[in-house]
């Protein structure tokens, strides 16, 4: 599903440049649930942004579902993001003047799905994250956990091939975090490929594979026995 080879990325800041990713190789198959760990500043978000086509690598190859991602213009990138990828952010990034269901329906709008179908699909995914009754509420009327559920529903609504989540539990308490991870595991059980950036070991252990980044290189890449989040819920 995801194939990267010798990926490099530097940030230029004035005269000096910061080499963040120093030749990464990684292969992720369909249906995997991968945690990317590492200390702060190790390049986790950078990697995820490149995988999400929100940013570009300086060199190296990246194949997403067999499609080489290279020299994309903004329009192409937008289309691929819409078709292949769903994002979940630490700070939710919901549009504050849109209700929960409208937020979930937004990626479908950019897929040119008609209004009625958008509404139906959005409701279906809201129901999946258990927020059907909250459909008409604004983000400001929802708790952090509920907001993240809406964000997950939104990421799912476009029916992408891969879900990318950057510190999706970073703004939540541990109980809510486990509920969210339970939802993520459920989605993964359905076959969706999911990448999660985190620096919390307990969250990472709820994934099936942990990739450790340090100083821009992968220092450890292990498959683990998945801890089910449901055990910690209630």
């Amino acid at each position: 599903m995801i194939e990267i080879k010798d990926l490099h990325k530097s940030y230029r800041m004035g005269s000096n440049s910061l080499h963040v990713l120093k030749g990464l190789n990684l292969s992720i198959k369909e249906g995997e649930l991968v945690a990317i760990m590492g200390s702060s500043g190790s390049g986790k978000s950078t990697l995820l942004n490149i995988l999400g086509m929100l940013d570009e690598a300086d060199s190296g190859a990246y194949n997403l579902d067999g499609v080489p991602i290279k020299n994309l213009n903004e329009t192409k990138a937008a289309k691929y993001r819409n078709k292949f990828l769903g994002f979940i952010f630490q700070s939710f990034n919901l549009i504050n003047y849109k209700s929960a269901v409208e937020n979930v329906a937004l990626p479908l709008y950019y897929q040119k799905v008609n209004r009625k179908e958008r509404q139906e699909k959005a409701m279906k995914y809201l129901e999946k994250v258990g927020l059907k009754e909250w459909a008409d509420h604004l983000p400001s009327e929802l708790s952090g956990g509920q907001k993240q559920r809406v964000a997950i529903a939104r990421a799912m609504a476009a029916e992408p091939k891969v879900l990318l989540a950057d510190e999706l539990t970073g703004a939540l308490d541990s109980k809510t975090s486990y509920e969210i991870m339970d939802l993520i595991q459920e989605i993964n059980d359905g076959g969706k490929t999911i990448l999660i950036v985190t620096h919390e070991p307990d969250i990472a252990n709820m994934c099936k594979r942990i990739v450790h980044l340090k100083d821009g290189v992968i220092v450890e890449d292990t498959f683990v026995e998945q801890v089910r989040a449901l055990e910690y819920v209630q």
Binding site: L54, T75, A78, F87, N93, L106, Q111
Partner: protein, 411 residues
Amino acid sequence: MFSRDRWQEIFQTISKNRLRTFLSGFTVALGIFIFTVLFGMGNGLKNTFNEFFMDDATNTFFIFPGRTSMPYKGFKKDRQIEFRNDDLEDIKKDFALYLDHITPRISKSALARYKGESNTYTTRAVAPSHQIMEKTIIMKGRYINEKDIKDQAKNIVIGRLVEIDLFGRSENALGKFLEVGGVIYKVVGVFQDDGGDNEERYIYMPYTTRQLLDKGTDKIDQIILTYKTDIGYAGAMAFDTSLFKYLKEKHKVAPQDQNGIYLRNTADIVKRNMMFANVLQWVVIFVGIGTLIAGVIGISNIMVFVVKERTKELGIRKALGATPASVIGLVLQESIFITTIAGYIGLVLGVGILSIMGNSFKEDYFITNPQVGMDVVITATLILILFGVIAGYVPARRAARVKPIVALRDE
């Protein structure tokens, strides 16, 4: 681009972001409103000006006798010059080439009385061609005619307001007899005049009748004449010079004497008035452009603010698959929509205020019938929309180019 979905998306952003909508809409509406009102009032000033100064015939000389200030050919200074009927005849004879119409005018104020009502008016004893020079409009009856002059008839033509003053609104003055300065005259006509109220309180009579009543004198107060317009401005100035010289010669006034005879040539005045009217026009245009520029600056600032405020939202949309074109389109279409609606509101309010104002500021502020041409206002609105688009496009394009991660970065 203009799909129903897009419009629904825009209506939602508009209605959910009231402050933003209000700010940009208000600026545009205010700009167009002020533009319309100022432009309309400017036009009103111009109208007043035209009405006051362009009302009378413009190819006119006024000639008054004065008192000499120099001795000349055996006459002492301080001699009162007087015009007589033969001056009219001589001018007619010797300047036939230039002359169009000529009339004497003898002004005198007199008490007019009809039944219980009385009032003092200025009477003007004139020849028939006076009508052309003053652009007097006959409402009913007729003006003084040649037969009145020949017969020294006791016929008068009264102003519209004289009729209202003395006869009331219901009674018809035509054919009635009016006592003016102790003499009974028959009213043969009622006139109106665009030159304002004062011009409608005159009483006209044949100059020969006046002279008869003044013990058979042939003295006249002043001579008014119009020249043929095809002689042009240069011809008028030449006519002016030679007529002035001719009259001074005839009445034995020293050529350098500034005071013996006065000749006022409206060709000069008209030229000055035209210049003033042009200056007014420029002031109006200047004010209009000024307000438009202020409006454009306002809308530009607001668009920058709007796009900045939306950076994060636009970043989210891009992460969800919005193309740069759709981001630009969303911002622009919203701004065009608001600008158009707001411009229209400003226009309607402005035109409304102007029509409420109507002529009520005429007396105190010299604003007559303030109006704006639809073409002018629509052009102004289009300019504002255009600049709103440009002002929105630049930041919208920048926002569309910003990488989503930059827009989404938590600060």
